[in-house]
Amino acid sequence: MREQGVWGLAWQRFRGDRLGFASLLVVLAYVAIMLGTASGWLARDWSEERALSYAPPTFIGPDTAAAVSPVAEKRGAPDDYGIPDPLAPDLAEIAKTLSGAAGTKARAATLALGADKWGRDVLKKTVKGAEVSLFVGLAAAALATLLGTLFGALAGYHGRWIDDFFNWVYSVFTSIPYLLLVLAVAAVVQQKGVLTVILILGLTGWTGIFRLVRAEYMKHKVREYVLAADAIGASPARRMFVHILPNVSHVVLVQLSLHVVLFIKSEVILTFLGFGVGVETVSWGSMLAEAGTELLLGKWWQITAATVAMAALVTAFSLFTDAMRDALDPRLQ
């Protein structure tokens, strides 16, 4: 029988936690969706305008008012003055486009979760939006954790001027209001897109992880097993990353997980404020941004779909993080 290491024991404890395990399954389902859309298997045609503008969800039924009086027919009225409108054919064309009648195919009156202003499928947008939101969350958290861990390890292990330097950087970053810092990075990068959002979040979000990892390294560097590694001739880098890192990895993992949740929410906020991903792609943030005007018209389905999808992921991820933290707690070993 293979002996169980700390990871084996942690996994055993984790499996015993039903809620945590269920959350893990939900998170994995979202990751599967992300991979599906990224590879083009799912929701590839999310931008196709396949329904009437603001077509309601199927379970509500078609919008009868909109069907009886399409916009194009209302616009036919100016003939009453007897003056031919020179722009009439163009206007009619524009009106047709707006009302969704210009497509070659017949447009659907309802969709599973409704349609947006351009008649795009909200369900597909939500699925496609998961890709951007989750990817941004994961990648930005990975970047922030990498920076925080690396800086924290260097500062905590070496101490002295290296510690002073990183503490100075840390203080500068934390003394600037968060949104101002984000605006500054956004202004420097000068380009909208997924990569930019990841950079913004990753470069501004490492500070909390840095502080925790630094403290852990300060605690561990004087432990006897590190002294023992020094005595057998292990180099400082080896002591830092081969010996100490596995012993603080539970802290790093939990922080990584917490920051995924945090950054998914941050991406939504950034996009809502207009610093996030561009209009050519869709994320839950851009769906919420569009929904701002829709709500005035009483079209609630897009905002609901994005919110529910995000809430489910964030809740599952948070519960998963909690369960992971319990399973990895060294005091329980």
Binding site: E224, Y225, L227, A228, A229, I232, G233, Q333
Partner: protein, 541 residues
């Protein structure tokens, strides 16, 4: 009638039966010692008498009668039954001055206030031998011995009839231990207290207890009058426990271990001679070795804290140099300087023609291989995330010993067998081993580099006496086989005497006396050495 009667007491935790139906009495004004190694159930017994075990996990059966009444013991705890613990530092609240903490006990149980309270605190402090000027000190400003005095003052504040002392001197230096034992003995006779003294050290027992109870694995192996237990122990385990401490006067070739007695083989015979012939080559010589730490005070000022002050000594090839001293004497700093774990402030260390303190980090690597160290705490010195195989392969990997993983693995297996561990250990993790086994692994790790000098920094101090005996035997065997030199650091004088050819005595960073082990122990010249030797508990035995 006895003051305390324990009848058929059993304590079970989930998965473990800690105490298995034990019965004993503590007579009025009597002194009973509960002796056993770790896991024997002695502390659990004390806690269950006080009713301090966690109710959600512990199942307690049997009866504890105080003055003949069941359940009374837990009701009078703090007033009639008081307890002192092993770690005074963690038992005192760090944010309050000690007088305040003693006063709290007095005002809670006796309702004293104002001037009466202050006078009683002063009287108590005087009684436990703490200067009145220290009353307003915070715990961190006191030494370990003074902290334990405060704990004792709190314990006797309400004039208890029974004092339960759970290893009260284990964390203290031997000379301080002596003072505390004298203090407890004096208080006991003045206040007519009964005492239940819990310890792992049979040496202490002979001095303070009229009756001894020997426990093992939750059962009482033997109980009786102290003189009888020491003179004619009936139980094989008691005999083994008495025999496996290194004796002060003699030096058997091997220390007896528990199995010798329980297996029926009887103790080993023969004596081992220690000491130098005088023609041994020197493996390492230190001259004027010094180390100071600096405490930053304010922006520019630094305070110098000298840890080692100009130590000079030599270690003979294949021999053992013992280092004794109390906490803060600089023993461990000395070990760190020799292994370059800390840079030295001054002096030189001659090893194979080179000055170890002058070479840079890169050229020090071959020397690092030849000087290895085994630390005190086997629970902390092995990386918990490495398997034993990884732990043993790593030094070889770093120093390029062994051609490939397979060869390193077979070398590791060889060494595991040498230190008495099975081959299956290779794929296990440190947490699956006991303290003694872990220390064997730490020794095997040092041996992977076939060092010429092995520094043993309190390497057996954290272990039970029976396990200690096994490890000391192992170390002697390894020295005979490999011809290694040892620098054997310990606060335990008997163990140092047993293991060493030569001994140096350290106090406050200085070597106060050095010489051949037998000569130094038989005729100590320096007053400090004399005090140390006189403080060894149970010396008269």
């Amino acid at each position: 009638m006895s003051l305390l009667e324990v009848r058929d007491l059993s304590v079970a935790f989930p998965g473990v039966q800690a105490v298995k139906g034990i019965s004993f009495d503590v007579p009025v004004r009597g002194s009973v010692a509960l002796v056993g190694e770790s896991g024997s159930g002695k502390s659990v017994t004390a806690l269950s008498i006080m009713g301090l075990l966690p109710k959600e996990s512990a199942t307690v059966r049997g009866q504890v009668l105080y003055r003949g009444q069941p359940g009374q013991a837990a009701r009078v705890r703090g007033s009639e039954i008081a307890m002192i613990f092993q770690e005074p530092m963690s038992s005192l609240n760090p944010v309050f001055p000690v007088a305040f903490q003693i006063g709290e006990v007095l005002s809670k149980h006796l309702g004293l206030l104002g001037r009466a309270l202050r006078e009683r605190i002063a009287a108590l402090l005087e009684e436990v031998g703490l200067p009145a000027a220290r009353a307003d000190a915070y715990p961190f400003q006191l030494s370990g011995g003074q902290q334990q005095r405060v704990m004792i003052a709190m314990a006797i504040a309400c004039e208890p009839k029974l004092l339960i002392a759970d290893e009260p001197t284990t964390a203290l230096d031997v000379t301080v231990q002596r003072q505390i034992l004298d203090l407890i003995a004096g208080l006991r006779s003045r206040h007519e207290m009964a005492m239940l003294f819990i310890t792992h050290d049979l040496g202490l027992v002979s001095e303070i207890a009229d009756q001894v109870i020997v426990m093992r694995d939750g059962e009482i192996r033997e109980q009786g009058a102290t003189a009888q237990i020491f003179a004619t122990p009936k139980d094989a385990y008691t005999r083994a426990l008495l025999a496996c401490r290194p004796p002060i006067g003699r030096r058997p070739s091997r220390l007896p271990v528990i199995d010798d007695f329980l297996g029926g083989g009887g103790p080993p015979s023969g004596e081992r001679s220690r000491g130098l012939r005088g023609d041994e080559p020197t493996v390492l010589e230190a001259r004027g070795l010094a180390k100071s730490f600096y405490l930053r005070e304010g922006l520019l000022r630094k305070r110098e804290l000298p840890a080692v002050k100009g130590a000079s000594f030599r270690i003979a090839k294949g021999r053992t140099l013992g280092v004794v001293g109390e906490s803060g004497s600089g023993k461990t700093t000395l070990a760190w300087l020799l292994t370059r774990l800390h840079p030295a402030s001054a002096g030189e260390v001659r090893f194979d023609g080179a000055d170890l303190l002058k070479v840079d980090a890169r050229s020090a690597m071959p020397y690092k291989r030849r000087i290895q160290i085994v630390f005190q705490n086997p629970y902390a010195s092995l990386n918990p995330r490495f398997t034993i195989g990884q732990i043993l392969a790593e030094p070889m990997l770093i120093h390029g010993i062994g051609a490939d993983g397979a060869e390193r693995r077979s070398r590791a297996l060889n060494l595991l067998a040498k230190v008495g561990l099975p081959a299956q250990a290779l794929d296990k993790y440190p947490h699956e081993f006991s303290g003694g086994q872990r220390q064997r692994i730490a020794i095997a790790r040092a041996l992977t580099l076939t060092p010429e000098l092995l520094i043993l920094d309190e390497s057996v101090s954290a272990l039970d006496v029976s396990v200690q005996a096994q490890l000391l035997n192992l170390l002697q065997d390894l020295q005979d086989e490999y011809g290694m030199s040892y620098l054997f650091i310990s606060h335990d004088l008997a163990v140092v005497r047993y293991m060493s050819d030569e001994v140096i005595v350290m106090k406050d960073g200085e070597i106060v006396e050095a010489g051949a082990a037998d000569e130094l122990f038989a005729r100590p010249r320096h007053p400090y050495t004399q005090t140390l030797l006189a403080s060894i508990p149970g010396r008269a035995q």
